[in-house]
């Protein structure tokens, strides 16, 4: 006697019960890790004697990936809740100039607070417009992308704002602890906190439920509007932190910092296995998505390709990876 519906039988057999709540026990979920290893080995063999495997180059890849990885952690929450945040890149730019100007005028701590305040203000506006007025997050954050970028350019007259405070610069990106750049430490911390919050807290579970089925989440007593508000707030605050990482690394604030990062961050999130339609997300996957993009960028440069060729290959690899991870 069978009580099994055929669709159940067609699915691959489940692996052990271990491995956390939100893993679908599906090899496609692991495409990003497989892809990462394959691309790494590919470059290691091909570019081994061009210095790809040198510790310096590997640390370099991590540093260059760090800022995107930080932004992508926030983006993972947004996309898991079935929203999108297109304003993160320009929030990073605005935060970098705001922090730079405030550091010059009032010193270190006010500068850091001012940078974060940019995220709080923009995130609250985004969140309120989406959760209270019900405007799609795509439109709200698309508009905010322009507003934040324009504001950053306007208040600086399009000029870079140098940061002369060494503490700021060392803290946010120029410094290193031992051999490890602080940028990498920031990214690791962001990923660790994000992974725990999304995977292991009540809030994370509620974000995923809201993204998976908003109406069922609401019937379950989850304040779905609050979830929408907070994911957009978190995303903007994290983006403002990323803006200060740019400012520290490049020792200046500039409206162009972070330009276009929203697309890299979204690509990292989706490559990492988070569903573009919400309901399923993993921060560790996102980190590997960001790393994979960084790895490809680095390898293509070492291989001597020019930027037009790099763009084509990078785009093709992203499409390929997402296609492999797709069901069916």
């Amino acid at each position: 006697m069978t009580k099994t519906e055929p669709s159940v039988v067609l699915e691959p057999t489940p692996r052990s019960a271990r491995g956390g709540f939100f893993r679908d026990l599906d090899w496609r979920r692991y495409v990003i890790y497989i892809g990462f290893v394959v691309v790494f080995i590919f470059f290691a063999v091909l570019l081994g004697n061009q210095g790809f495997l040198s510790p310096n180059n590997l640390l370099n890849i991590l540093s260059q990936t760090a800022t995107i990885a930080v932004i992508a952690v926030g983006m993972t929450f947004v996309i898991s809740a079935a929203e999108i945040d297109l304003s993160v890149g320009s929030v990073a730019g605005l935060s970098s100039v705001t922090a730079a100007m405030t550091v010059s005028a009032f010193g270190l701590v006010p500068g850091i607070l001012a940078g974060l305040l940019v995220g709080v203000v923009v995130g609250s506006i985004n969140g309120a417009l989406v959760s209270l007025l019900g405007i799609p997050s795509f439109l709200v954050t698309l508009g905010m992308l322009g507003v934040a970028a324009g504001t950053a350019q306007y208040i600086t007259n399009s000029a870079p704002e140098p940061i002369l405070d060494d503490t700021f610069n060392n803290l946010f990106g120029s410094g290193s602890i031992g051999p490890v750049p602080v940028l990498v430490i920031w990214a690791v911390v962001a990923v660790a906190v994000g992974a725990v919050v999304l995977g292991r807290t009540r809030y994370g579970r509620q974000v995923l439920a809201t993204g998976g089925n908003r109406s069922a989440a609401q019937y379950t007593g989850i304040r779905t509007r609050r979830i929408t508000f907070t994911v957009l707030l978190v995303s903007a605050v994290v983006a403002s932190l990323a803006g200060m990482l740019y400012a520290g690394r490049l020792q200046s604030g500039r409206f162009q910092w972070g330009e276009g990062d929203e697309l890299s961050a979204i690509a990292a999130v989706i490559l990492g296995g988070t569903s573009l339609f919400g309901g399923a997300g993993t921060v560790v996957g996102t980190a590997f998505g960001a790393l994979l993009i960084g790895l490809i960028n680095n390898g293509l440069v070492l291989a001597g390709l020019d930027s037009s060729q790099q763009q084509i290959i990078r785009g093709a690899i992203i499409i390929l990876a997402v296609a492999l991870a797709k069901k069916k």
Partner: protein, 502 residues
């Protein structure tokens, strides 16, 4: 009945998925112009058999005959070409397109390389006229009621010359008079020689529309019979594999007349539909809410649970005014609502059984700021066992479960919160009869534990089987409060709901 040609016939069809055999030597034949009911419990193989006829699955062995000729159906296109049409349970229409555009979706009439919408409308009108239904082919589907969606689905199949229509629980989302209209349409289609395969759990409907019935059990054909020669009890017995006695008869419970009033509603006004509603439910009591679709019964449940805002009036729990202005506050006040649409409102379908079960209980499995995942697994497992959910693995998506098991997950999820007041909206919709009586039994058990239960159902036998008292809702107000012993039978409840004096 004259010896008719079989419009579609399967001979000794077997189907296995890997090591699991789902169908074994199934013989199933539908005559031309016949309505043929197909019944069976969850997992009996109904949907697999239908998917084979529609070309979604290929049989492992056996053959399919269309009008007496063996055919090979290896794709949905083959099935359509052979004249098999499916009226989907979850409608497959594009809401932003018109009726005509939907009917000819993918097979649009063309002129000079462009879609000829005018011709589409003309041909759609012909099809709809043949069906004798009054729908404007130029109307946008999204603006029409669900009954019209279904008619559009049927028209879509007929426009592609379907000779056999498969209808899976077609009345699930229809009001009474819409159901009647559908039955009349089925009669007209039969008269035109079109065959209907009618899948339903509702005995009264099967007797209304079907000429013959085939019952599947455990992937085999149990019997095929004309309905004139078989009794409902035989069919039910065939489906569940054992005699169910009195599963839908009222069992007088120790009526909780003297016990504490748990829920009291005074002069409640909410949304557009709930007007001046007052009633009380005692601990241990099951109160039924009877009313037509759109009478305001679901809206009343939504208001009590904080989904729709309350305009005026008050809700008292254990005699004290309660704040139920949002679902989380209602839950905190001891309420639980099993919503009417489990797929849309009850479950996150892509999440696992375990995640769904734990969603309202996350506060209980915390260790500091983190969730205690091992404790969650234990809690989920205990709920699964307590409610007899049949699940291969609690980590699998709940989407893969049968309707009955999904409903058990929704029930278990809510009962995990140990609510003192339980509101159930259509708790057995689309559930097979075995699971149905199991769920009704659990509801009785929950009341026996001292909970107040409010149950909404369109199925009067079910309502009469469990309710100690029935409130009749009409136009958003409670018009009658009937103790169960004062309701003679289904018909008298029916009359009360319709507002007709008997």
């Amino acid at each position: 009945m004259t010896q008719a040609v079989n419009a579609v016939e399967t001979r000794r069809i077997s189907k296995s998925f890997g090591p699991v055999t789902v169908l074994t030597d199934v013989d199933f034949a539908v005559r031309q112009g016949e309505a043929h009911a197909l019944a069976g419990g969850n997992g009996a193989g109904k949907s697999t058999l239908m998917k084979i006829i529609q070309g979604v699955y290929q049989p492992t062995s056996g053959e399919i005959l269309i009008e007496g000729e063996p055919v090979s159906i290896t794709s949905i296109q083959d099935a359509k070409a052979a004249g098999i049409g499916m009226v989907f349970q979850e409608f497959s229409l594009v809401p932003s397109l018109t009726v005509a555009q939907n009917i000819f979706l993918g097979v649009e009439p063309m002129r000079g390389g462009l879609v000829d919408d005018r011709e589409g409308v003309r041909r759609a009108r012909t099809v709809l006229q043949e069906m004798a239904v009054d729908i404007d082919p130029k109307a946008e589907v999204g603006r029409l009621g669900t009954a019209y969606w279904q008619l559009t689905e049927i028209a879509k199949a007929l426009a592609q010359n379907a000779r056999v229509l498969i209808m899976d629980e077609p009345t699930a989302s229809l009001a009474k008079h819409e159901t009647e209209a559908l039955f009349a349409l089925i009669e007209r289609l039969k008269a035109r020689g079109i065959s209907i395969i009618y899948i339903s759990h509702r005995m009264d409907e099967i007797y209304r529309v079907a000429d013959r019935i085939t019952v599947l059990r455990d992937g085999r054909t149990l019997f095929t019979s004309t309905l004139a020669d078989t009794t409902p009890a035989e069919i039910v017995e065939g489906i569940v594999g054992k005699k169910i006695e009195g599963e839908l008869t009222y069992r007088s419970r120790e009526a909780a007349a003297a016990s504490e009033v748990l829920l009291e509603v005074r002069d409640l006004n909410a949304g557009p539909r709930v007007r001046d509603v007052s009633f009380a439910v005692r601990a241990g009591e099951i109160v039924g809410l009877a009313g037509l679709m759109g009478s305001g019964r679901t809206e009343l449940a939504r208001a009590l649970f904080g989904i729709d805002p309350i305009r005026s009036g008050e809700v008292l729990i254990r005699g004290e005014k309660a704040n139920v202005s949002s679902p989380d506050r209602a839950i905190a006040a001891g309420l639980a609502l099993i919503p009417e649409d489990r797929r849309d409102q009850g479950l996150v379908l892509d999440h696992s059984v375990r995640e769904n079960l734990l969603l309202p209980l996350l506060g209980r499995i915390r260790r500091g700021p983190l969730l205690d995942l091992p404790a969650g697994r234990v809690l989920a497992q205990s709920l699964i066992e307590r409610f007899g959910v049949k699940v291969a693995h609690p980590g699998r998506p709940v989407r893969l479960l049968s309707g009955g098991n999904q409903q058990k997950v929704v029930l278990a999820k809510w009962l995990g919160t140990d609510p003192s007041i339980l509101i159930l909206d259509e708790p057995t919709a689309g559930v097979d009869i075995g699971t149905k009586s199991e769920i009704l039994d659990r509801i009785r058990g929950l009341a026996d534990e001292g909970r107040a239960v409010l149950i909404i159902s369109s199925e009067y036998p079910e309502l009469l089987a469990v309710s100690d008292r029935v409130l009749v809702v009409r136009d958003g107000s409670i018009v009658e409060d009937l103790p169960r012993r004062d309701i003679a039978d289904e018909e008298s409840l029916q009359l009360a709901v319709q507002g007709v004096q008997s």
